[in-house]
């Protein structure tokens, strides 16, 4: 099987981007990913949905996705076309939810420090490498624990438990 390559432009944010900013509660009366995608990041960056292109990557500092347990948050990010999120750290429920729905997330302080808003980057998910095309630099992130790789390989938690 060939390596999974994700490539896109970076949308960069700071620390503690919370789930209320990612998808405000006023839109939680739906579970439809297409509807949720329309309002993604609305309360932190109202132009995000206008600017985002399929494959783009969110880069943020500490504690990304803190707050509520709403799975609507990673769902809206994924459905908006974002291929991965890179951060120094993730809030734990957001981390679980992303793995469970198959949104790739990577932790790399080195990458977050160096990557600038608008940079073009390419991620090799299998190797955990992040290549910054704009700056011609490469960063390494921690590979997922084996347990989580199995969930991702199965295509999400429910498919994993079905096995």
């Amino acid at each position: 099987m060939s390596d999974i390559i994700l490539k896109g432009k970076v949308h960069k944010y700071g620390s503690n981007v919370n789930t209320d900013e990612i998808i405000p509660a006023r839109y939680l009366n739906t579970t439809d990913p297409i509807v949720l995608a329309k309002y993604c990041m609305e309360d932190i960056d109202k132009d995000f949905v206008k600017n985002v292109k399929p494959g783009d990557i969110i880069v943020a500092e500490n504690n990304f996705g803190c707050g509520s347990s709403r799975e609507h948050a990673p769902i809206s990010i994924k459905a908006a076309g974002v291929s991965a999120v890179i951060a120094n750290s993730f809030a734990r429920i957001f981390f679980r939810n992303s793995i469970n729905i198959g949104l790739p997330i990577l932790e790399s302080e080195e990458a977050v420090k160096s990557i600038k808003d608008g940079d073009e980057i390419e991620i090799n998910l299998n190797k955990g490498t992040i290549h910054n095309i704009t700056q011609n630099k490469t960063y390494q992130s921690q590979p997922f624990p084996e347990f989580m790789q199995k969930i991702i390989k199965a295509g999400g938690l429910l498919k994993y438990i079905k096995k």
């Binding site: 919370n18 006023r26 009366n29 309360d43 504690n63 347990s69 429920i93 939810n97 469970n100 347990f147």
Partner: protein, 421 residues
């Protein structure tokens, strides 16, 4: 090397003698919980899995509390979807209409969550039940779907951080002030992935309501769970409610902690967390005069009878709430509502010009029943003050205890209870 209480509960639920922090485990869950926002997604996932029946109809709680009484057609459809699932699966603990309360108030009140349990909930404030000496944590909808199908959930065993609560409690200082102070000290990711264990001589002075409030906000410091070792106060609470046999666990004397914080509670004065993070905690007395438009007293953090009693005792002294402040009081469960009615608390609120609402999460997450317009400010006993949390992206939420909230409702600005003569 001994084990911390969290490790002991986790070990007991996966048939092991001990578990080590960092280890991946798949323990059995005693209760799996969902609400009207998260359960619809979970049920959709559950149906995709091909599993026909939930693992145990008595171990699932579905509480329709967030947007109920249904605020719009889409929300009503969600609740209908969950209701039909609950009927079809014969889910024992289904709450809606006149039975419903805010989930983290009603689940322990009804004895569904008990000491020694593992409880997972598709709601971040599921950590509340740690107050009972249970391991209790928030997960997402897919996790809930998986737990409803298998009765298990995957976890990485967390490290524990110990908070030793010492000293004497100052006047008007409650569980809310202690936890806001701690979050202010360690930050919103200060306990990320870790267990927050609360101990020390002050714990004996804390009511179950205070402990629920403290455990409830462990997530606001990024914690996986917040936990108190059960004692005679827990026993008194659980004995008359528990639907199952419960078990008390406690940390070994030689348990290993990632960190220990000694918290001198005599240095804590009534707190307020300024926008836009719960960690922006300050003593109310040190905050400059800030005029407000709304006060909310309620939620899974502070909607219990003890909270309403404190608020009523202050409002009674002040007689009327400030005409510029919409004051919304939300008893967290029907039993609390009823008790407050019997004690005359609701009449005090209503006579003072406050609104008394049916139990709902409503305004806490900007759902309904008290949404803020642009530029408006609200003092609230809830747990989050993020950007746009209670409404317009340019509105502001200030988190405080019920006494400060009641005093602020009367004064029209963020006030200490001592200002009400």
């Amino acid at each position: 090397m001994g084990s911390a209480i969290t490790e002991k509960i986790l070990a007991a639920h996966c048939g092991k003698k001990v578990v080590e922090p960092g280890e991946f485990i798949e323990p059995k869950v005693d209760i799996a919980l969902g609400n009207d926002v998260t359960a619809p997604l979970a049920i959709k996932e559950f149906k995709k899995s091909g599993v026909k029946k939930v693992f145990d109809k008595n171990k699932i709680a579905l509480v329709m509390d967030h947007f109920t009484p249904n605020k719009d057609i889409l929300s009503a459809e969600h609740v209908k979807f969950v209701r039909e699932f609950a009927k079809e699966q014969k889910i024992k603990h289904y709450f809606e209409g006149g039975n419903v309360g805010v989930e983290h108030a009603i689940v322990p009140e009804k004895g569904i969550a008990i000491p020694g349990d593992i409880i997972i909930g598709a709601d971040s404030h599921t950590c509340t039940y740690g107050a009972l000496g249970a391991f209790s944590t928030g997960v997402g909808s897919t996790d809930l779907a998986s737990a409803m199908a298998t009765g298990k959930v995957w976890f990485k065993v967390p490290n524990s951080i110990k908070f030793v609560l010492k000293g004497k409690l100052n006047k008007w200082v409650s569980g809310k002030d202690i936890i806001l102070y701690i979050i202010g000290l360690i930050g919103v990711d200060g306990a990320l992935y870790n267990s927050m264990e609360f101990t020390g001589s002050v714990c004996k002075k804390l009511t179950m309501a205070d402990r629920f409030t403290i455990a409830n906000m462990a997530i606001e410091a990024g914690g996986k769970n917040g936990i108190f070792a059960p004692d005679e106060i827990t026993e008194k609470y659980a004995a008359k409610r528990a639907l199952r046999k419960y078990k008390f666990y406690e940390s070994d004397k030689d348990a290993k902690y990632l960190k220990t914080y000694e918290i001198d509670c005599s240095k804590i004065f009534p707190q307020v967390a300024l926008p836009f993070l719960p960690s922006n905690a300050k003593a109310v007395k040190d905050v400059k005069k800030t005029y407000i438009d709304q006060v909310v007293i309620g939620s899974c953090t502070n909607g219990r009878i003890e909270d309403l009693r404190i608020a009523a005792s202050i409002i009674k002294k002040g007689k009327k709430v400030n005409p510029n402040v919409r004051t919304i009081v939300i008893p967290a469960t029907p039993a609390i509502y009823s008790q407050a009615l019997e004690e005359g608390l609701l009449k005090i609120f209503m006579d003072a010009g406050a609104v008394v609402s049916a139990p709902t999460c409503g305004p806490c997450l900007g759902g309904h029943m008290g949404i803020l317009a642009s530029g408006e400010k609200c003092v609230s006993t809830t747990n989050r003050n993020f950007v746009g949390r209670m409404g317009h992206v340019e509105s502001q939420v200030f988190l405080a205890n019920p006494a400060v909230s009641a005093a602020s409702a009367i004064k029209g600005y963020i006030a200490t209870p001592d200002e009400i003569k």
